[in-house]
Amino acid sequence: MTTPILTVSHLNQYYGDWQALHDINFVIAPGEVVALLGPSGSGKSTLIRTLNGLEPLHDGEITFQGKPVDPKKWPELRQKIGMVFQSYDLFPNLTVLDNITLAPQKVQHRSRADAEAEARQLLERVGLADHAQAYPRELSGGQQQRVAIVRALAMHPDLMLFDEVTASLDPEMVRGVLAIIKELAVQDQMTMVIVTHEMNFAAQVADRVLFLENGRLVETTPAKQFFAQPQSDRAAEFLTSMDF
């Protein structure tokens, strides 16, 4: 068996006295697409943010590509773990092209020409080749989110984390963004963890579903099975409430 990309064992997270996550355990294999589902406040965002160290690790262990994560090494590891946020968070003072090429140049010390060539190629792929010199504020939400995905991809990550990336988009913008993520899954075999409220999308793209409730991992089921016949009552209830 190949080495898992990510292993999470006995993870507990706290905010002060409040325990946000309880004893979370799971393994993600290379090329796997995992959807992290659950009601609001169930700890999905906390969990995905813990996976690249944006939330400090209180208790438990994360291994990345077979090596236990040392919290001091996060800046280095984050090059291999791309993340896209709900609010896009492009740097407003930089053009689209500079947003994408900043980290490859400064963190990975690639040449400007090399970084730009790749950035343009990636922009082409998401249909934004004409917007390389635009500033983020000149783009629509959907376009900005596509740029944010490209910005993460430009670092050649081995794992991508998507934290509710379509939650603040207009419905018509959602499709374009989801299509890109789906393409990454199918064509690039990218390993991904996706937090989403788009159940149809999760059903299409995910190999496996982790269902969280109140900070506990209630269910870990192959996606097909989860959407056809969830194992827990709570998950069944959740799916019914999302389906209207």
Binding site: N52, G53, L54, W74, P75, E76, L77, R78, Q79, I81, G82, M83, F85, S87, D89, L90, F91, P92, N93, L102, A103, K106, V107, A148, R151, A152, M155
Partner: protein, 211 residues
């Protein structure tokens, strides 16, 4: 208008004296701003750090200069420093000292405010890309904080320039002080002299700045 009083500008060396006074005000304001902004930048950076003691001391420093009126500051450096600490600088350099300390205090808070106003999401986006602390500061925080700090900095600079009018309190021959002398010397013969000696100069400068 036989006696508009404009001739007092051309009498003797009055115009030259006014311009020399103006230069005094300008260089004191300029040097104080340059030094004060540099020191204030360092203090502001220190205040975004985690060292509690340093934060506390700098906070007290800021409050002191914020609360104490500038006139009192000028008196402190002009009268107390020479007597208690045997520091005998020319009055204009004493003024630079007082203004620099004041600008540093105010600007430290501008810097701190601007840096902490950069949205947390921006920092996280930078972290997620693997940027180091230094790179985060240089490529993410600083360019955004700079824009946030600009209006308050311009505001501070104009306050400093206007406050140079207090320099006459410690006998610095600035433009106000010299204007005052000219007015008083000619008050009997040219009651409207104030209009020309101060008014015309102020108008010219304001128009230049607006342009």
């Amino acid at each position: 208008m036989a006696h508009s009083g404009i001739e007092i500008l051309w009498t003797g060396h009055n115009l030259v004296r006014l311009l020399v006074g103006l230069w005094t005000s300008v260089w004191i304001a300029g040097v104080s701003l340059i030094l004060g902004l540099l020191v204030g930048l360092l203090f502001g950076l220190a205040r975004t750090g985690k060292a509690r003691l340093v934060n506390g001391i700098l906070w007290l420093y800021l409050q002191f200069f914020r609360i104490v009126p500038t006139v009192v500051l000028l008196f402190l450096v002009y009268y107390i420093l020479p007597r208690q600490f045997n520091l005998n600088w020319p009055a204009s350099w004493m003024a630079v000292l007082a203004f620099t300390l004041w600008v540093a205090a105010e600007f430290s808070d501008v810097v701190r405010g601007a840096l902490t106003s950069v949205p947390k999401h921006q920092i996280e986006a930078g972290q997620a890309l693997g940027l180091s602390q230094g790179q985060l500061f240089w490529y993410v925080k600083l360019p955004q904080a700079w824009r946030l700090a600009l209006p308050a900095t311009v505001n501070l600079a104009t306050r400093v320039i206007k406050t140079t009018s207090l320099l006459l309190m410690i006998s610095v021959m600035d433009v106000i002080n010299i204007g005052q002398q000219i007015i008083e010397a000619n008050n009997q013969t040219h009651p409207n002299g104030v209009f020309w000696s101060m008014g015309s100069l102020c108008c010219c400068i304001s128009l230049l700045i607006i342009r």
